[in-house]
């Protein structure tokens, strides 16, 4: 994990650092290189009335007969008082623009751009009644975790801006949600692997209920598919703008209750994939407790799952399915870091990858 406080150079500040770190990597494939590159920009917004996930991804399309080299996908999922709505939509290369070396993506009429210190997102699903117009103002410095080890290939790279303030409008099936400086999370991943490789992850973040709370945290555990070997394990804590503490590896211990999250009928997208992954049981624990201790610092993050939705992607190594379980949770974080007491409640989204 890199300290990025110097990366923005003389301009300094959060925006300049994001400009320098968080940009699109997708580019030409070297001769003979396998079609395995993946990159995605993920945004999560948590409010009392609305949870929202927006994900722009660019992946090599390894399928024989695929219409192009790249498979651009947009995921938009919203959860409000009426439940979940959303979908996964795919786009042709000829309706896609990729501004490499910066954040500038157009998938048909859907756009993601980082400009003048703001992320700007405009997205509207073609076949489902969800549309968003958002401006996200980063609050924290990004963290950058390059070269996260993978078992079946080259490493994965991750940058994260765990706290942003979002202003805009989200429309879900005729219901209009106005956001005014609501809290949001953003990360960006890229690497070379196939869905179906020997990898799984459990990952999440906590945004405080009270926006005056200066703390923001994220945690991630990358494992083999059987979840018997942890390839990488970390927990990061920001205080205000700055990354205050990083716990790694043996600093961390994870526990779960002996119960699964239960949903009578989990929301699954894209909908046709529910035919090949129809299971009602969800391999997601009802909670997750991450405890970190190093020197005099300690931190305990206790998440209790509220709801789960599933993004289902066909495995690329066989006729299986890679399941992204998106679990919303209530969370309590407490501990002591650099002599300061940490104690706040918040909302989380955790992601549990499973393969069936």
């Amino acid at each position: 994990m890199f300290d990025l406080s110097h990366v923005g150079g003389e301009r300094g500040g959060v925006a300049a650092t994001i400009d320098a770190v968080d940009f699109v990597r997708y580019g030409p494939r070297a001769r003979g290189e396998p079609a395995s590159f993946k990159e995605w920009q993920h945004f999560a917004i948590l409010t009392e009335a609305l949870d929202l996930l927006v994900n722009f991804s660019l992946c090599d399309d390894p399928r024989p007969g695929a219409p192009g080299r790249t498979l651009p996908r947009l995921i938009v999922m919203a959860r409000d008082a009426s439940g979940w709505e959303g979908d996964v939509e795919e786009f042709r290369e000829d309706e896609t623009y990729v501004g490499r070396g910066r954040t500038d993506l157009e998938f048909a009429t859907n756009t993601l751009v980082f400009r003048d210190g703001h992320f700007l997102i405009t997205a509207g699903l073609r076949d489902r009644p969800v549309a968003v117009r958002l401006r996200l103002d980063p609050v924290t410095m990004p963290a950058y975790a390059p070269s996260v080890p993978m078992l079946d290939g080259p490493p994965l790279h991750w940058s994260v801006v765990p706290r942003l303030e979002v202003t805009g409008v989200v429309e879900v099936a005729g219901r209009r949600h106005r956001l005014e400086r609501a809290l949001a999370y953003h990360d960006h991943n890229w690497g070379r692997f196939l869905w179906g490789h020997d990898v799984a992850w459990e990952w999440g973040f906590v945004l405080p209920d009270d926006p005056d709370v200066p703390w923001t945290t994220t945690f991630v555990r990358l494992t083999n598919r059987a979840r018997t070997v942890a390839l990488s394990h970390g927990m990061l804590l920001w205080r205000g703008e700055r990354l205050a503490r990083v716990f790694r590896g043996r600093d961390l211990c994870v526990d779960t209750p002996l119960a699964y999250a239960r949903r009578p009928r989990p929301f699954k997208v894209p909908r046709p994939m529910a035919l090949v992954a129809p299971e009602l049981a969800i391999d997601v624990p009802s909670g997750l407790v991450t405890e970190a201790a190093s020197g005099a610092d300690r931190l305990r993050c206790e998440c209790t799952v509220e709801d789960v939705a599933q993004v289902l992607i066909p495995s690329e190594t066989g006729l299986g399915v890679t399941i992204f379980n998106e679990a919303t949770a209530r969370t309590h974080v407490r501990g002591v870091v650099d002599g300061a007491r940490v104690d706040f409640t918040g909302r989380s989204i955790m992601e549990f990858i499973r393969v069936v």
Binding site: E90, R271, P314, L319
Partner: protein, 139 residues
């Protein structure tokens, strides 16, 4: 064969599956190899005869091991996840008849077909045409 009929849609999809996702096509054929399946969709009757890696059109009246009755509307409801395969059977939107072994083999073949369907690059376009036809020409 035209995809204006349900049978045309099925045959076109099977040809695409064999070409674009041969592993799924083979996995579909294996459990039902040697069996005939009679299909009735909205009153349109046709039949398929499965071999190890080939599917042939067959005469519907030739004494099938399995018979399936459904509708375009039910197929689209399944694709749109308005109900599951199990719910479709329990609610009689999908009727499958045969011995237990035949029905289990058909289920395995159908799931393999679906795994291919979600991977085949040409299937989204085929589905759009099927949906438009089912809605009377309107997408």
């Amino acid at each position: 064969m035209s995809s204006e009929t349900f049978a045309g849609f099925v045959h076109e999809s099977l040809a695409l599956l064999r070409c674009e996702v041969p592993a799924a096509h083979a996995a579909m054929c294996a459990p039902v190899a040697g069996r005939r399946v009679a299909i009735d969709a909205d009153g349109e009757a046709f039949a398929l005869r499965f071999e190890r890696n080939v599917v042939h059109a067959a005469a519907p009246e030739a004494g099938p091991e399995l018979s399936v009755r459904t509708s375009r509307r039910a197929v689209l409801a399944l694709v749109d996840a308005r109900y599951s395969l199990l719910e479709a059977v329990l609610n009689e939107h999908l009727d499958v008849r045969g011995t237990p072994d035949d029905v289990i083999a058909f289920h395995d073949a159908l799931v393999a077909y679906l795994h291919g369907a979600v991977r085949a690059p040409s299937f989204p376009g085929l589905l759009r045409r099927f949906r438009a036809h089912a809605h009377g020409g309107m997408p």
